[in-house]
């Protein structure tokens, strides 16, 4: 249903997603890109040793089915519901980011509720099509978006804005600030979010788990490298201003001026950024809807409705964009998301290993 290439494309675009909106690891100042890199490596460990291991043990089940199988009906339901809420909440955050930034940069006078409604509708349309349609969409989008990114970077370089001197001196205050900025924030966002793919991996065409894992990791490495590169460029254009701006990349492109024709391309750049956010919010919306559908044993098309309404209504909870960012970076990333991205998966993996161990132990005895 999903080809390996589509899987890798989705991993890449999902990771880029909303991370292009923020300066990740801003607390490490000009060493932020190193934090991103460290975060990426740490996330890779998490992905390779926990998330993918869960899937390896049960290659033909999604997270909800695994919960039900290993935690029993009641506990499995509770954990499943928690993940529906977690995925929906992530989607809510992305809807809100998308909406607030659209109003900020594109359509100043439109009411927030209308913009959010439109976003939920376009997300819902893709979700209704099911994972097949969504992953195919991403496969089409990825090369287009990457091409525009490359063009954008060529423009940035040719405008003479990029100055790698702004990255110097490196590790001025030692490695600790880099580490502090990376753990756990950058694992939680964006690299630990790969936990969502526990809902998707089972739809891949290939029955060979090894291929699925290696394509996921390839996509992850590409996405991680891309985010790091984006961070480097944002830092080397904006220098110390990078951590103050709302959307660093958008701020950077404001400086582009080529031949008096390409003066203000930031609406186009914001479209580029928002497309990636759209992919991310739809991925979460789809994950939440799939989880909901499996939890209650209903069709995806029906599950998408309550989840969509939930996401739309939930998006009103934040008082402002700043509130949303604040809640995210100050609380969620540190205390809440690690539970879902690291805590529960590790517990789940241990339970699975124990159960499997018991089972195979029994098997050995009987032989």
């Amino acid at each position: 249903m999903i080809t390996l290439r589509q899987l890798a494309s989705t991993v890449i675009l999902f990771l880029i997603g909303s991370s292009s909106l923020f300066l990740l690891g801003g607390k490490a100042d000009r060493d932020a890109w190193m934090s991103v890199f460290v975060g990426m490596l740490a996330g890779l460990m998490l992905l390779g040793f926990v998330t993918l291991q869960i899937q390896r043990l049960e290659p033909n089940r999604n997270l909800i089915e695994i919960f039900k199988l290993y935690f029993g009906r009641t506990a499995g339901f509770v954990f499943g519901l928690l993940y529906v809420i977690y995925y929906s909440y992530k989607s809510i955050r992305n809807v809100r980011e998308f909406a607030d930034l659209s109003i900020m940069f594109l359509i100043a006078d439109t009411p927030l509720s209308v913009v959010m409604l439109v976003i939920c509708l376009i997300g819902g349309y893709a979700v209704m099509g099911g994972p097949g349609v969504f992953f195919r969409m991403v496969e089409v989008l990825l090369p287009i978006l990457l091409l525009i990114y490359v063009l954008l970077y060529i423009l940035l370089f040719s405008s003479g804005l990029v100055d790698f001197g702004r990255l110097q001196p490196m590790l001025e205050r030692g490695f600790k600030p880099v580490w502090d900025a990376a753990i756990p924030e950058i694992i939680s966002f964006p690299f630990g979010e790969m936990v969502l793919f526990l809902m998707f991996w089972r739809y891949t065409e290939s029955s060979d788990y090894g291929q699925v894992a290696s394509m996921t990791i390839k996509g992850y490495l590409f996405g991680g490298a891309f985010i790091t590169l984006m961070n480097v460029i944002a830092l080397s254009i904006l220098g110390p201003f990078a951590s103050w701006t709302t959307v660093p990349l958008l701020e950077a492109t404001n400086f582009i001026d080529i031949g008096d024709i390409l003066e203000r391309i930031d609406p186009l750049v914001s479209l580029l950024l928002f497309s990636a956010v759209y992919v991310k919010l739809t991925a979460y919306y789809l994950g939440a809807s799939l989880a909901f559908a499996y939890l209650f044993g209903i069709r995806l098309q029906i599950a998408a409705l309550p989840v969509g309404i939930g996401i739309f209504v939930g998006s009103f909870w934040f008082k402002s964009y700043m509130h949303q960012v604040n809640v995210g970076f100050e609380q969620n990333l540190k205390y809440h998301f690690p539970i879902f991205q690291i805590g529960i998966p590790i517990v789940l993996l241990l339970v699975m290993l124990m159960r499997k161990g018991v089972r195979s132990g029994k098997g050995r005895q009987s032989h």
């Binding site: 080809t3 290439r5 589509q6 659209s102 594109l106 359509i107 439109t110 913009v115 439109v118 976003i119 509708l121 376009i122 349309y125 893709a126 099509g129 097949g132 349609v133 969504f134 195919r136 969409m137 496969e139 089409v140 989008l141 008096d260 024709i261 003066e263 203000r264 391309i265 609406p267 186009l268 479209l271 928002f274 497309s275 759209y278």
Partner: protein
């Protein structure tokens, strides 16, 4: 569902033959009786006794002066064939000395005296009647329980002419006609392969329209061929007047602006499709044949792409793809940018646009809608009006609606430019039905662009992309080879590589076991030849 498919498919092909209807509805009262007068009268009554029924009674000098009658529908038959046949029959009727051992006039006529290739026995009134309706001549023999249907189909039909749509500068100038037999022959003349299969069907209770399903055995995918048969057999309708009827019955999804089945008037285009594994559906009475399965990118390919040099073809194709997007997006982008994102425009351009729009009483969205609707009306008028009135429409369209509207300050000159450019761009797409899709989507995007700016347009495009990703044509993903991505098939999407490099058939259309279409190492290389 697949079970139904196979059972339905296996039963129905028996009913393909043109005499099937007769066999189905046959009942005791319809069999031929050994009474010539009565048979003729019943046959005339069956056909409603119109003045176009020609009946000629002959008497054979042998066989006890037994009488027999020749009946046909005037206008449906080929005059020359009738003439030859009658001449032969008359000559035969006047001979006496060749009395046969078997002694039956029916056998004598069947075996020895009809100067036409295709004859078959008929045994009932309605079978004979339907044969006549298809242009056959029926010979009813006095004492026999059987009659003879002689295929003399012909009559007036349009000759093979240059197609009026999908014209090319270089390439064959033949086009399909309304005659099914001519059309199948045009294809056979290009593909002289014994593997070329033509399965015939009859659809429509009243029109009894002949349909041919044409494909290359071994290259077309078997499941697609079966599915085509199954879907056509499932059609129940009184009449089929054009292949568009069939198209709407058999396409995968009903609600989509995009064509899920390709059509063409060009035999070379149809044959190119057959060679790549497509199944062609020909419908009697229309020069437009259907090709399926089809992908989105095929609608941007013109047959000329393959006759011109590949670099020119690539350039032209890029122009076409660009035109598609211009036709779909330009007015909405103009509206969005002038309404919401003026900062994107260079200052001097912005000033000039603002000056033009100063006197215009409408918002850009309304202005654009007025002009677009006007243009659509003009275009429709251009297609429907009698040819003689053409110049009048152009004067009214160009001068009154264009220039005068600008001078009167109703619309801005920039808007007229945008609308005209969009209109011209929409004609570049070789497939008319894809052009229409772009036109329809344009209006939706204009509303989105006028209400939500670029955000709205992007939302619209995302929905469009999701829609396209969900489409299938006979089970094959519509966006192939872009998604699912098939690297080998990208040689004929945005670029057209030289023929010697296009070594495989498209994976989604051609049979998996038979993808290779040309030998290796055919790149022209003078040095190698010298060695």
């Amino acid at each position: 569902m697949s079970n139904d498919a196979t059972s339905g498919g296996s039963e129905k092909p028996a009913a393909q033959q043109s005499n099937s209807q007769a066999e189905h509805t046959e009942h005791a009262g319809q069999v031929l009786l050994p009474d010539l007068e009565l048979n003729i009268e019943r046959l005339q009554r069956f056909l409603g006794g119109g003045s176009d029924i020609v009946c000629r009674t002959l008497t054979h000098r042998s066989f006890d002066n037994e009488q027999y009658a020749i009946l046909y529908m005037d206008g449906l038959v080929d005059g020359a064939a009738i003439h030859t046949m009658l001449l032969g029959l008359l000559e035969d009727a006047n001979r006496t000395n060749e009395l046969q051992d078997d002694g039956s006039l029916y056998n004598h006529l069947m075996d020895r005296s009809i100067a036409v290739g295709k004859i078959r026995p008929v045994t009932s009134i309605d079978e004979a009647g339907y044969a006549m309706l298809e242009g056959s001549t029926v010979i009813v023999v006095g004492h026999s329980l059987r009659a003879i249907a002689v295929d003399t189909a012909g009559g007036e039909s349009r000759s093979v002419e240059e197609p009026s749509s999908q014209t090319v500068v270089r390439g064959p100038k033949e086009g399909f006609t309304e005659n099914l037999r001519t059309n199948t022959a045009l294809v056979r003349r290009i593909i002289k392969s014994p593997n070329l299969r033509m399965d015939y069907k009859v659809v429509g209770q009243e029109t009894r329209t002949n349909i041919a399903v044409v494909y290359l055995q071994g290259i077309a995918q078997d499941d697609v061929v079966q599915e085509v048969h199954r879907r056509i057999d499932a059609i129940e309708i009184d009449g089929i007047l054009e292949s568009g009827y069939i198209e709407e019955f058999i396409q995968d999804k009903a609600f989509t602006p995009f064509p899920l089945i390709q059509n063409t008037e060009r035999p070379d285009a149809a044959c190119a499709g057959i060679l790549e594994g497509q199944v062609v559906i020909m419908v009697s009475g229309t020069p437009f044949v259907l090709l399926t399965p089809v992908t989105f990118v095929r609608f941007f390919q013109s047959s000329e792409d393959y006759y011109q040099r590949y670099d020119i073809a690539t350039f032209l194709r890029l122009i076409r793809v660009a035109s598609f997007f211009i036709s779909m997006l330009l007015p909405s982008m103009y509206i969005a940018i002038t309404t919401f994102h003026q900062e994107m425009l260079p200052t001097s351009l912005l000033v000039s646009l603002a000056a033009q729009r100063e006197g215009v009483p409408f918002p850009a969205l309304v202005e654009a809608f007025l002009m677009e609707i006007t243009f659509e009306i003009l275009r429709e008028a251009g297609v429907r009006m009698p040819r003689i009135i053409g110049p009048a429409i152009s004067i009214v369209g160009a001068l009154v609606l264009g220039q005068a509207a600008v001078q009167a300050g109703l619309v801005s000159a920039a808007m007229v430019i945008v609308v005209s450019f969009t209109a011209i761009a929409s004609f570049v797409i070789p497939a008319v039905n894809m052009g229409i899709a772009a036109r329809l989507i344009r209006f939706v995007l204009m509303i989105l662009g006028g209400t939500f700016g670029l955000f709205g347009i992007m939302s619209g495009l995302m929905v469009l992309l999701a829609h396209l990703c969900g489409l299938r044509s006979f089970g094959k993903p519509y966006l192939m080879p872009i998604s699912p991505f098939v690297p080998g098939n990208l040689k004929d999407v945005l670029i057209r590589v030289p023929w010697w490099a296009m070594r495989n058939r498209p994976k989604n259309m051609a049979s998996k076991s038979n993808l290779k279409r040309e030998g290796s190492g055919q790149r022209p290389d003078p040095d190698r030849e010298g060695a």
